[in-house]
Amino acid sequence: MEQIFVFFLHGLAYAGLLFLVSSGLTLVFGMMDVLNFAHASFYMLGAYFSYMVLMMTGHLWLSMLICPILLFVIGALVERFLLRKVHSGGHVHELLLTFGLAYILGESVKWIWGNYPLSITIGGFLSESINLFGVTYPVYRLFVLLSSICVGIAMALILYKTRLGIIIRAAVNDRTMVNALGINVPLVFMGVFGFGAALSGLGGVIAGPFLTTSPSMADDILINAFVVIVVGGMGSLLGTVAASLLIGELQSFGVLLFPKFSMALIFLLMAVVLVVKPSGLFGVEQS
């Protein structure tokens, strides 16, 4: 029983991390419909930048502040100077461009920080363990979960309760109309893309002390994040939450119950969902 509870918590922590990365992807891929294969590279960059900040200052909160801002700038620049120019070419061009970008970022990271995992250690309360309903559990994993809940609530508030959120949703729905109403849609999209990159970077900062920081970390999470988007339904925030939880738990209990097939389970789930309901669990059926 205790073991099941611990694995349930592991699943929740991984789901939290997955949500941080895929919430950015929901904005970029689900809403703007840009197939961004470099999204996980932003996550990796976040972890490496965080490593640098922690080396220099030693404060995690500082790196949670600085790294997303840096990633926002990088994301906005990528959108402005690269993606925007190939948008008319459709998905294939965006995909290839971001593939190339992922190659470049991955190799740059190997070049600068070396092709081996770095370990990030944090001190203080976060590195301790506490007693939770009879089991000892590391605080940091609970912190991961808490941060993702905060980000989720903040995103929901921004998207559904503010004027900016209305503009974003309207621009996604009918770009030309919103543009005609006098809103600078390209600027909005640049901001949304940057925000997506920043969320991914924040995921990287938080993942650093939790998983290992290595050049392969991007590949490890990229496909899972895409699976989350597809299973949850394109552009649905609620779907992203549900699918992150589902896949986090599936991953965690898959390792416990069928260690050999844990990898296959996730793809099986995605295949089943897409065959049964191609628009995803919470997606809107497209005509």
Partner: protein, 329 residues
């Protein structure tokens, strides 16, 4: 001489040039050429999906991988499997796999199709990775190329040039079959499907069936390329079925250009020579590859074949206008 005969002559000349090359170049270069031919076929099948059918697949490597593993498993676990049996089995099994996966994918298109193919590819990858007893998992399988016994003459396939000729003949025949496919009525409906699927349905075609036929067709030829991949490297590992393999075929097809049948042929040569050249100078060759892709997507989305076509057009226009200039004076 009409344009059509000119093109046929050019192709035959190209084939003869490839046939003559082993007399002119060294072993290393012949191996590289063999690899180029294998990936050219793989790219051509991918282009039938992407360029002709307008279907973006992230999972084409699953068929390449199934073909490669069929060859690998047959050669390691069944002793004395003849060469032709390896090729035929790989072809048949991938046709079956293509049919089964394709029938599950019939309804979806666009982005869900792309991601569903990715899911299936990852599923097959997970199987190949975990089913250690059969596939060798991470370690892969090492195989020996079987010799070909023609009854009166035995072809020694361990000889580099001999294997090159076998690859050249078999895979060029396969590429020719793909080209022929684009010329048939079925191949034309694929183009129609890309351009206007609604209209095609109104006319009375069953687009789902057309899509399934195209998918199965490209799958079995990709499997054939996969079988030759195993035979060429005498080794098969999870690399053959990984997402990276799909990435590679997507990139080389795009570099060659999706607008022309010959695009992937050029793309394969370009990609493999470039990779070979860059990896000689730097370990960081993916960095430069990435840079080249970005530049190509932004400034030459038609690929190498697009560049050739537009410069040919430019020359023709220039020639015409200079003629007009002479007439005017």
């Amino acid at each position: 001489m009409t344009k059509r005969t000119a093109i046929t002559v050019a192709w035959v000349a190209c084939f003869l040039l490839f046939a003559a090359l082993p007399f002119l170049i060294g072993r290393y270069q012949i191996n590289l050429l063999t690899e180029i031919i294998i990936f050219a076929l793989f790219g051509v099948t991918y282009n039938l999906l992407l360029g002709y059918g307008g279907m973006l697949s992230f999972g084409h490597a699953m068929f390449f991988g199934i073909g490669a593993y069929t060859a690998g498993i047959l050669l390691t676990s069944v002793t004395g499997t003849p060469f032709w049996a390896v090729v035929v089995c790989a072809f048949g099994l991938t046709a079956l796999a293509g049919f089964l996966v394709g029938s599950l994918l019939l309804k979806v298109k666009g982005t869900p199709f792309a991601l569903l193919t990715l899911a299936f590819n990852s599923l097959f990858f997970a199987i190949a990775f975990k089913w250690y007893a059969v596939t060798g998992g991470d370690d892969g399988l090492s195989v020996k190329r079987p010799n070909i016994d023609l009854g009166f003459w035995t072809l020694n396939t361990s000889d580099v040039s001999t294997f090159y000729y076998i690859t050249l003949v078999v895979l060029c025949a396969a590429i020719l079959a793909c080209w022929y496919f684009t010329r048939t009525a079925m191949g034309q409906t694929v183009l129609l499907m890309r351009e206007n699927e609604n209209r095609m349905q109104f006319i009375g075609y069953n687009t789902a069936v057309s899509r399934l036929i195209l998918f199965t067709f490209t799958a079995c030829f990709a499997g054939l390329a996969g079988a030759f991949y195993t035979l060429h490297f005498r080794f098969v590992s999870v690399d053959a079925i990984s997402v990276n393999m799909t990435t590679m075929v997507l990139l080389l097809t795009f570099i060659g250009g999706t607008g022309h049948f010959a695009g992937p042929l050029l793309g394969s040569a370009f990609y493999i020579y470039l990779q070979d050249y860059l990896s000689e100078y730097t370990d960081r060759w993916p960095f430069f590859m990435g840079l080249i892709f970005i530049v190509m997507v932004m400034y030459a989305p038609g690929g190498v074949s697009g560049i050739i076509a537009s410069s040919a057009n430019w020359l023709r226009e220039r020639f015409r206008s200079s003629n007009r200039g002479i007439e005017g004076t």
